[in-house]
């Protein structure tokens, strides 16, 4: 049986790598992203790699009023959806956020509110269908607020807590909810940051972990694995010490 997969934010580097892995598996792919020409490049590529079918459509995450129609259209095309992966997001510049409430709200809208909007709509469909996996890429940054990145972190944390509640609710309908927390990944989103060293991972390595975690119906995924231990330490530093630090 070919899997039916919806990817929201499909042109992100991690999402594209995930789509390629499912293409080899002959999945039916429904891809949403902003950039039409990149979606069309991806569609040709994924078909050659083996996807049974690929449908691509543009969407705008910030336009909340369109979300219901976007998801309805995906269901019209795929009939049922086995796996949804929400992979879009933006990495806002913390210093800019500190100067502007409007920019901070916009970053929260993109990284948290719009995701929650999609999740609300999707959850009801998955609950009805009583199977499948909802997977969302959040971030290790959501595990603790740090001065260098707390707007992004707070938005991701909101999604993570929402997913926790959703997991509890949908467990009774046999729907799995996976919260994916990547560490540093070498992607266009992080292009401006100086890279190198063992903490940086490639998108295709992260993608392999994601596909495996979906398969195994995991609840959480830290990827690469060592972030689980790094974040365990960071979460457990007493606040009276943490607040003096420079992280």
């Amino acid at each position: 049986m070919h899997k039916n997969i919806l990817i929201i934010g499909a042109t992100s580097a991690i999402a594209e790598s995930v789509a390629r892995l499912y293409a080899i598996d002959k999945a039916n792919l429904y891809l949403l992203a902003r950039n039409e020409s990149r979606l069309s490049t991806m569609a040709h590529d994924l078909k050659i790699r083996g996807a049974a079918s690929v449908v691509v459509t543009t969407f705008n995450a910030e336009d909340f009023s369109t979300h219901q129609a976007v998801i309805d259209k995906a269901y019209d095309a795929l009939k049922t959806i086995d796996i949804v992966l929400i992979a879009y997001g933006s990495l806002p510049d913390q210093k800019t956020m500190e100067k502007s409430a409007a920019d901070t709200i916009a970053a929260c809208n993109t990284n948290a509110i719009s995701v929650i909007s999609f999740l609300t709509i999707l959850a009801n469909r998955f609950e009805e269908n009583k199977s499948g996996t909802i997977a969302v890429i959040t971030s290790v940054a959501g595990d603790r607020g740090r001065q260098s990145n707390y707007v992004y972190g707070a938005a991701k944390a909101m999604v993570s807590v929402f997913l926790q509640g959703l997991r509890n609710r949908l467990h009774h309908s046999k729907v799995n909810v996976l919260d994916i927390k990547p560490g540093f990944v070498d992607t266009p989103m992080t292009a401006h940051i100086q890279k190198g060293g063992p903490l940086w991972a490639q998108p295709n390595e992260v993608a392999k972990d994601i596909v495996k975690a979906i398969e195994k119906k995991k609840e959480f995924l830290y990827t690469p694995f060592f972030w689980r231990y790094i974040m365990l330490v960071i979460r457990n530093i007493p606040e009276c010490l943490f607040k003096r630090g420079k992280l």
Binding site: I24, T41, H44, G50, P188, Q194
Partner: protein, 428 residues
Amino acid sequence: MKISGWGRCPVIESEMLSPQNASQINIDSEIIVRGLGRSYGDSALATQVLSTLSLDHFIAFNNDTGILTCESGVSLASILTTFVPKGWFLPVTPGTKFVTVGGAIASDVHGKNHHVDGSFSSHVHSLQIILADGSCVECSRTSHPELFRATCGGMGLTGIIVSATLALKKIPSAFISETTYKAKNLEEVFALFDEHQASTYSVAWIDCLASGEQLGRSLLMLGEHAEEGGLTLNNSKKLSVPFTMPAALLNQYSIKAFNALYYNKQREKVTERSVHYDKYFYPLDGLNHWNRLYGKNGFTQYQFVLPKSVGLAGMTKILNEIAASKRGSFLSVLKAFGPGNENYLSFPMEGYTLALDFKIESGLFELLERLDAIVLEYGGRIYLAKDVRMSEATFKQGYTKWSDFATIRARYGADRRFHSLQSKRLGI
């Protein structure tokens, strides 16, 4: 960010541009294009480099003819994983699959089947290239033929290859029937190459530290695509060299011992086995970061070709020089080339090529300069994709069509935009 070639020398600070698609490519200053960084020396190094690694999409594939169009950042590895299960293989492959299609064209790489199938560009039908003025041109043997011949083997110095159309080769299985012959010296292995000209694949491993009667003792490995075995991919786990090893581990004693063991692991004169293509073509790809074995100063691969008529005399002289220097190399590779092609800077010519790895240490470049002199004396040349140190004079004497190349480069304005450390060193 800091970048280097596969030889890990030199390491330079460079600004890396990573366009997400061809329309984002905007050339307003001097640049060189870079793929997976597997050329050994400084041919993909410059203060500003443009990475093609995000241009990694397949564009079209015809399952009846095997004609593939893809972006230039697609790796040979992903072509193999996608198309071997469908019964298609690379028409020509170098000794690593971790190179991009763009890099394979720019270096006009060759493989173990050069004597029958020519080099990589022989199977490229057309390519799209962004020129110095920002325009995108499709070129082939019939459309802009001079640009095509300059770009194939042109080390990225004519423009930015963004996509290419090439012909894959039909295979019955993913396995290779390998026959190995033991040759006790250089003369014997040359005779074996001649005798087995009809074999699809042939390459010899040569013990470059053996001398005297045993000078050039080697194992010649022939291969044919097997009928049986199925179209499976190799799933064995990869090993990795976790950190840079102390360079002193590689010395004349350890290499001599290794080479003796390797040569003597085969007792019979001839052996046969069936081996997966991944192990046959890419034995070193199974060991991640194997370039760390050569220590923190890095290494260089010295690869030259000598014309067929003087091959034995020239090769004997060079091997004597290397054996006397006691600077050895694991797995030195000898191969008989078929005729060269019309490209201005392609490396292969009819004759014999030898590739040797040397760790970089004092005295090495003096030895290599002595070898350069012998190579030139016999009418040969050095492979640009491996080179990190040859002189402008050595280059210009070996690559006799260099000035035609320079003329075409100037005609397209490429000499004002596309430069690597190598192109500056070689005066092109």
